[in-house]
Amino acid sequence: MKKLLVLAAIVTAPLFAQVEGDIEVPYIPFEVKMGKGFGEVNANCLTCHSFGYVTNQGRQSKAFWAGKVKKLMVHFKAPITDPDAKIVTEYLYEEYGNGELK
C-alpha cells in the first residue's frame, strides 16, 4: 500500500490571528486544599507544573505520595529539602490520601 503522496505546489497562508503575536496559555484555577503543609507545597511543588498534576493522581496511600515526592527529587531534580519533602508528603496524605499507609 502506498501512503505517501506527492503533492502540488504550496501556498504559504498567513498565520491565524490568535497565534500571530504571543500566545496566551490560560491559567486554570486549580483548587488546592488548605491544610498543614500548604505553604511548603506552594513553595516546592508548583514551579515545574500546575497542581493539576497532583490532584489527577486521585486519593493515594502515604507510601505512594512519599514515592512520588522522591521520584521528583531524584529524576527531575526538584530542589526540595528533606524536611520539606516530609511535610509535603504528610500534607498530600492528609488532604489527598486514601487512608492507607501502603
Binding site: 500566545i23 483548587e31 493539576g52 486521585g58
Partner: protein
C-alpha cells in the same frame, strides 16, 4: 439528570477516585466521561483539562466517531511548563548539524518549496504511550488519561531522509537527536530530547508543518514536528529546533527512564517486583475505541442505533473489528471503511444494532490486525509501572429505556 452531569466534578483529577473501587491489581476500563472544561486554550475548543502548565488536554470520546480528529479537538501533551509563546515563521529556522557534510539552517519557506524538497502527506495516528493509563491498578506513574490521549490527522511535510540527504551524513553517523523547544522550569531538570537510531528511520518519517490542511496548531508543535507513523507520540518531537547527528548515544531521561516497559514477554511486572530490564515503548499495539454511543447514552428500545468508532495499530493494518452486545458471548464483525487513508490511519468501523431489552446494555469492540493480533480483555492486561500500552477491549454501557 443525564449520567454525564452526574460525573461532573470540579477538576478532572477528582474523578480518579472512582477507579479506586476496583480490585487492586486488576486492570479495568479507563476513567471515562470526565468533565470538559469551560476554558478554551488557543486554537482549541474546551477539552478535558488536566493541567495548564504544561498544557495537558484530552479529547472526549465522542470525537472518535470520526476517523479524522479535528485540529481544535486534538489532544495536547507537553512535558515542560515553559513552552515558547511566540514563534515568528519568517525567522524560524531548523538547524541540522553534527556529523553532516554540510550544516543546514533551513527556513519554513525553503522547506515548503517543492523545488527544494518533495512535499509529502501521510495520515497517521498519534497516541501517547500512556493513553488510557487510568485503567491500571494500582495507579501507575503519570497523568491518569482516559481514552483520549490520541488522534488521527493528515500530516504534510517533507521526508526526514530527504533533509539528511541534503546535509549528507558522515560515515560514522549513527544517532539522530531531536530537540524540541520546550524548557524545564529548573535548570537541572532534563529537557525533552529524543534520539533515534538511523535504523529506526524510514521514508515514512516526516517533518510536518501542516495538520489536516492547516498550519500545525501551536499546542500541537507549531511550526514543525516529527511524525513517526506507527510509533507512540513520545518520539514525535514538537516544535523542533534542531536535529543533531552523532555517533554516540547520550543518556537521556525521557529515553532511558520514562516511556519504557518491562523487557519480557508480557511486558509486565508487579509493584513489589519491578522488572530490572526495560525497553522503549516504540510501536503501538492494536486498539479500538467506540465513539458512539457513549457511557450513559440513553437509547430507546427497538430504535436504530449505529455503533461507530475507530481502530488502528502500528501499520500492519486492521483486518476486522468485532462488536458484542451480550457481554462478549457472541461477536459480530462491523463494517470497515475503505481503508484508503492508509495503514497508519484510523480505520473507521460501524455496525447497526437494535437494543431489545430494557436496562443496561454493554457494547464491546475488539480490533484484530492483519497479522492476527487482537485486543485482550482489560482484565487480562498485566500491570506495568508506567501504565503504558493499554489496549483492552473497549466497553461502553448504555441505558435502554
Amino acid at each position: 439528570m443525564k449520567r454525564r452531569d452526574f460525573f461532573k466534578t470540579s477538576i478532572a483529577g477528582a474523578a480518579a477516585a472512582m477507579a479506586t473501587s476496583l480490585e487492586a491489581g486488576v486492570t479495568g476500563q479507563p476513567i471515562d466521561n470526565r468533565k470538559i472544561s469551560t476554558i478554551a486554550f488557543p486554537e482549541k475548543r474546551p477539552m478535558i483539562t488536566y493541567s495548564d502548565r504544561p498544557p495537558l488536554l484530552e479529547t472526549p470520546r465522542c470525537v472518535f466517531a470520526n476517523t479524522i480528529t479535528p485540529n481544535d479537538a486534538f489532544f495536547v501533551r507537553w512535558h515542560m511548563p515553559d513552552i515558547p509563546t511566540h514563534i515568528d515563521p519568517k525567522n524560524y529556522k531548523i538547524k541540522i548539524d553534527g556529523l553532516v557534510k554540510k550544516e543546514l539552517n533551513i527556513s519554513l519557506d525553503f522547506l515548503k518549496d517543492p523545488a527544494n524538497f518533495e512535499q509529502v502527506e501521510v495520515t497517521a495516528v498519534l497516541q501517547c504511550g500512556g493513553n488510557s493509563r487510568s485503567a491500571f491498578k494500582p495507579t501507575a506513574g503519570g497523568i491518569q488519561w482516559g481514552h483520549g490521549a490520541m488522534g488521527c490527522a493528515k500530516w504534510k511535510g517533507v521526508r526526514l531522509s530527504d533533509l539528511l540527504d541534503q546535509a549528507g551524513l558522515k560515515k560514522d553517523a549513527e544517532w539522530i537527536g531531536f530537540n524540541g523547544s520546550e524548557k524545564a522550569a529548573y535548570y537541572e531538570t532534563p529537557n525533552f530530547v529524543r534520539e533515534l537510531h538511523l535504523d529506526e528511520l524510514d521514508d515514512h518519517v516526516i517533518l510536518a508543518y501542516e495538520m489536516n490542511g492547516e498550519d500545525l496548531p501551536y499546542l500541537n508543535g507549531y511550526p514543525l514536528r516529527l511524525v513517526i507513523p506507527g510509533s507512540y507520540s513520545d518520539s514525535w518531537v514538537k516544535m523542533l529546533s534542531n536535529i543533531t547527528v552523532t555517533n554516540k548515544y547520550k543518556k537521556l531521561f525521557f529515553m532511558d527512564i520514562a516511556y519504557r516497559v518491562p523487557d519480557n514477554e508480557c511486558e509486565c511486572e508487579t509493584p513489589e517486583k519491578k522488572a530490572k530490564k526495560t525497553k522503549p515503548i516504540t510501536k503501538m499495539n492494536v486498539k479500538s475505541l467506540i465513539g458512539y454511543p457513549e457511557n450513559g447514552t440513553v437509547l430507546q428500545t427497538k430504535s436504530h442505533v449505529v455503533v461507530r468508532g475507530v481502530a488502528f495499530d502500528d501499520g500492519h493494518g486492521i483486518r476486522d473489528v468485532k462488536i458484542s452486545i451480550d457481554n462478549g458471548k457472541t461477536w459480530k464483525s462491523a463494517e470497515l471503511d475503505d481503508g484508503k487513508a492508509g495503514r497508519y490511519a484510523y480505520r473507521g468501523f460501524k455496525l447497526a444494532i437494535k437494543p431489545m431489552k430494557f436496562g443496561k446494555m454493554t457494547i464491546m469492540a475488539k480490533a484484530i490486525n492483519k497479522i492476527g493480533q487482537e485486543q485482550p480483555l482489560a482484565k487480562d492486561i498485566k500491570w506495568n509501572h508506567g501504565g503504558y500500552k493499554f489496549n483492552g477491549i473497549d466497553v461502553v454501557t448504555v441505558d435502554v429505556v
